[in-house]
C-alpha cells in the first residue's frame, strides 16, 4: 500500500483526490447531522444525569465533524464553517436516516422526542462509525488515518453508552420492548444508505483508503444482530433514497434552516 502523507500529495492524483474527498464528506456530514440532532435533545433527556452524558457525546461527535471538515479545507474544499453551514441538501452526503427528526412535534414548539429512536439510531450509527474508523485508520491517506485514530479514542465510550441503553431497554417492560422493536424495524428500512460508500466506493477501495463496503456492512450486521433481541426478518433498505448521492428528505431542509439561521442572517459578519 502506497501511503499518501499530505493533502498536497493527494492533489497530484485526481482519481485519488476525488475518492478521498468523497469519503471525508460522508464522514463529516454524518457526524455533523447526527450531532445536530443530538444538540436538539439537550435539556430533554429522560433524566438529568443522562442529559449531561449525552451532551458530551454530542459535543465529541461535532468535534469529529470539525476535524473532518478541516481535512476537506486542506484538500481545497473551502472553510470548515462554510462547508458546514452553506452547502445545499443536494451537495450533502450524510445518510438519510441520520437527518430524521427526533420524533413528533417541533424543536421550537412542543417537541415530543422519542428516546427509543435516539437509542436505536445512535447505537446503529456509532457501531458503524467504529467499524468504519478502524478500517480508515489502516488506510492509505495518512492525515485521515490520523484523525480516525483520534476519533476512535472517544468512540469506545460512545458505543458503550448506547449499547447499555439498547440492552437495558430491550430487557425491560413490555412497553419499552415494543417501542424499541418498532424503532429497530423502522431503522431496518431506513438505515441502508448509511452503510454505503457511494459512487466512489470502488476507487476508495482501489486506493486503499478504506475496505469494501460489503466488508464493513458484514461486520456491522454481525455486531448489531448480537445486541438486538429480535432481528428483523427482512433485508436492509433505504426507503428515503441514497444520501451518499445527495438524495435527502425535508427533514434535512428543516435542519439546515435551523442550524444556518444566524449564520445566514449576516454573511459578512464574524461571529
Amino acid at each position: 500500500m502506497k501511503l499518501v502523507e499530505t493533502a498536497e500529495q493527494a492533489k497530484q492524483d485526481p482519481s485519488y483526490l476525488k475518492a478521498v474527498t468523497e469519503l471525508i464528506y460522508q464522514l463529516a456530514d454524518d457526524d455533523f447531522i447526527i450531532s445536530f440532532r443530538g444538540s436538539e435533545w439537550l435539556g430533554l433527556a429522560p433524566h438529568i444525569e443522562e442529559d449531561v452524558a449525552y451532551s458530551s457525546i454530542t459535543q465529541n461527535t461535532m468535534g469529529h465533524a470539525v476535524m473532518f471538515y478541516e481535512l476537506l479545507e486542506q484538500l481545497g474544499e473551502g472553510k470548515a464553517d462554510v462547508l458546514a453551514h452553506e452547502r445545499q441538501p443536494k451537495d450533502r452526503k450524510n445518510g438519510c436516516y441520520l437527518e430524521k427528526r427526533n420524533g413528533e412535534g417541533a424543536y421550537h414548539g412542543e417537541p415530543y422526542f422519542d428516546w427509543a429512536l435516539a437509542v436505536v439510531r445512535n447505537y446503529f450509527y456509532e457501531t458503524f462509525k467504529q467499524i468504519k474508523l478502524e478500517a480508515i485508520s489502516d488506510g492509505s491517506y495518512k492525515p485521515l488515518a490520523n484523525v480516525a485514530k483520534k476519533a476512535l479514542m472517544e468512540q469506545t465510550y460512545h458505543l458503550a453508552h448506547w449499547k447499555m441503553w439498547m440492552k437495558q431497554l430491550q430487557k425491560s417492560t413490555d412497553e419499552a420492548q415494543e417501542r424499541m422493536e418498532l424503532r429497530i424495524v423502522e431503522a431496518w428500512d431506513e438505515f441502508g444508505d448509511v452503510l454505503e460508500l457511494g459512487d466512489c466506493a470502488e476507487d476508495m477501495q482501489r486506493h486503499a483508503i478504506i475496505t469494501s463496503s460489503e466488508e464493513l456492512k458484514g461486520k456491522w450486521l454481525q455486531e448489531v444482530t448480537n445486541t438486538i433481541t429480535n432481528v428483523p426478518n427482512k433485508p436492509l433498505k433505504q426507503i428515503y433514497g441514497n444520501g451518499r448521492n445527495g438524495e435527502h428528505t425535508v427533514d434535512l431542509e428543516q435542519a439546515l434552516e435551523t442550524f444556518a439561521e444566524v449564520y445566514n442572517s449576516d454573511k459578512t459578519a464574524i461571529w
Binding site: 445536530f36 444538540s39 436538539e40 439537550l42 435539556g43 430533554l44 433527556a45 429522560p46 433524566h47 438529568i48 444525569e49 442529559d51 449531561v52 451532551s55 458530551s56 454530542t58 459535543q59 461535532m62 468535534g63 465533524a65 470539525v66 471538515y69 470548515a80 464553517d81 458546514a84 453551514h85 412535534g105 424543536y107 421550537h108 412542543e110 417537541p111 415530543y112 422526542f113 428516546w115 440492552k167 437495558q168 431497554l169 430487557k171 425491560s172 417492560t173 412497553e175 419499552a176 417501542r179 435551523t258 442550524f259 439561521e261 444566524v262 449564520y263 442572517s265 449576516d266 459578512t268 459578519a269 464574524i270 461571529w271
Partner: protein, 329 residues
C-alpha cells in the same frame, strides 16, 4: 445561576427552636466556621430555608438551560455551537449537583427529585425571574452568558463559604465552571460589539430588553418592596454574606464599566455612580412585575414549564422501564 426568588407569599412568622441547647451548639459550630453535613442535627428553620434556596437554585439551573437551548442548534459557527452546548450542558450539570444536595436535605420528609419536578410543574417551586424571559436573537444568548451569568456568579461566589457543607462543595465545583461561562459569554458579546452594524444593533437591543430583568436578578433590597425577605435568615445562618443590594451594587461595579467600554448604553438615563454615597444610582425596576414573573406569569413562563413537562412526561416510559426490579443487567 441563582438568586433567592421571593414572591411575598411566604409568611414571616418568628421562628422559635424548641431545643435551645442544640440550637446554641449548632450556632456555635457555624460561627466557628464548621460545616454542617446532611445527617447532622440542624434547626428546622435552617433545613427548610436551605431546601427552599437550593431546590430553587437547582431547578433554576435546569430551567435556565431552556432559554439558551433555543439558540444552541442555531449558533452561527461550529465553534460557537460547541461552546454553547458545553455551557448549557454545564447548567444541566449544576442542576444535577444542586438537586442532589436538596434531595438529601428533603430525605426526612420522604421527598425525592420526582416531587421537585412535580412541584415545579404545579407552580409550587419557583424558578428565577430571568428564565421567564424570551431570547429573541443570538445576542440574547450572549447576554445570558455574559450579564445574566455574571450576576449569577456574583451571587454564587457570595456563598462559597456557606455553612452547609454539601452546598458549599457543590458551589466550589459550580464556580470553577462559571469562569468558563463568563468567558464564553464575553466571547460572544465581544464579537458582536466589534462586528457589523447589524450585530451591534441586536446587541444593544438585547441589553435594553434585559436591563430590568438584570436589576431584578438580585431581588428587592428590603422586605418592604415585595412583602417578605429571606436574606436576613440566610445571613444569620452563614449561608451568604451580603445583602441583595450589596450584591447588586457589586455587580454594577464590575460590569457597568465593561458595558460602557464596549460603547453600549443602558436604558436608564439616571444611571450614574455617586461618589459621595459610593454607590450606583439607578431607577428601580417594577417590582410588581417581578412578583408577577416569578408567579409564572412572565412572558415565557408557560412555554418553558410546558417544555419541561413534555420532556418529563414524554420520557416517563424510560424511567418506568428502568426501575431496578424490572431490569436484569
Amino acid at each position: 445561576m441563582y438568586n433567592y426568588v421571593e414572591d411575598g407569599d411566604s409568611k414571616t412568622t418568628a421562628y422559635v427552636e424548641k431545643d435551645q441547647d442544640k440550637y446554641q451548639q449548632f450556632m456555635a459550630r457555624i460561627e466557628a466556621g464548621e460545616k454542617i453535613e446532611a445527617d447532622d442535627w440542624m434547626p428546622e428553620e435552617y433545613r427548610q430555608a436551605l431546601i427552599k434556596l437550593i431546590s430553587m437554585h437547582g431547578i433554576s439551573e435546569i430551567m435556565g438551560a431552556l432559554p439558551e437551548k433555543e439558540w444552541t442548534p442555531k449558533a452561527p459557527t461550529l465553534r460557537r455551537k460547541l461552546g454553547i452546548m458545553a455551557k448549557v450542558q454545564d447548567e444541566m450539570g449544576h442542576g444535577q449537583l444542586l438537586l442532589r444536595v436538596a434531595e438529601d436535605l428533603m430525605k426526612p420528609y420522604g421527598k425525592t427529585r420526582e416531587d421537585l419536578i412535580e412541584d415545579l410543574l404545579s407552580g409550587d417551586l419557583k424558578f428565577h425571574n430571568v428564565f421567564h424571559m424570551p431570547t429573541k436573537t443570538w445576542a440574547d444568548a450572549g447576554m445570558v452568558g455574559w450579564l445574566v451569568d455574571g450576576a449569577a456568579i456574583m451571587s454564587q461566589t457570595n456563598m462559597l463559604d456557606a455553612s452547609y457543607g454539601p452546598y458549599q462543595r457543590a458551589l466550589q465545583r459550580i464556580c470553577q465552571e462559571e469562569v468558563f461561562h463568563a468567558q464564553h459569554g464575553e466571547a460572544i458579546i465581544m464579537a458582536l460589539a466589534e462586528g457589523t452594524e447589524y450585530q451591534r444593533d441586536i446587541l444593544q437591543e438585547s441589553l435594553n430588553r434585559w436591563w430590568p430583568a438584570l436589576l431584578m436578578f438580585f431581588g428587592p433590597s428590603t422586605a418592604a418592596t415585595t412583602g417578605s425577605s429571606k436574606q436576613d435568615i440566610m445571613i444569620k445562618y452563614r449561608v451568604r454574606k451580603s445583602t441583595n443590594e450589596e450584591l447588586r451594587q457589586a455587580f454594577l461595579d464590575k460590569y457597568l464599566p465593561r458595558v460602557f467600554s464596549l460603547g453600549l448604553t443602558v436604558p436608564d438615563e439616571t444611571v450614574h455612580y455617586d461618589k459621595e454615597k459610593q454607590q450606583w444610582i439607578y431607577e428601580q425596576p417594577n417590582w410588581d412585575e417581578f412578583k408577577q414573573i416569578i408567579r409564572n406569569k412572565g412572558p415565557k413562563s408557560k412555554e418553558r414549564l410546558r417544555l419541561r413537562e413534555i420532556a418529563y412526561e414524554n420520557n416517563r416510559w424510560v424511567r418506568q422501564a428502568l426501575v431496578p426490579k424490572t431490569v436484569e443487567s
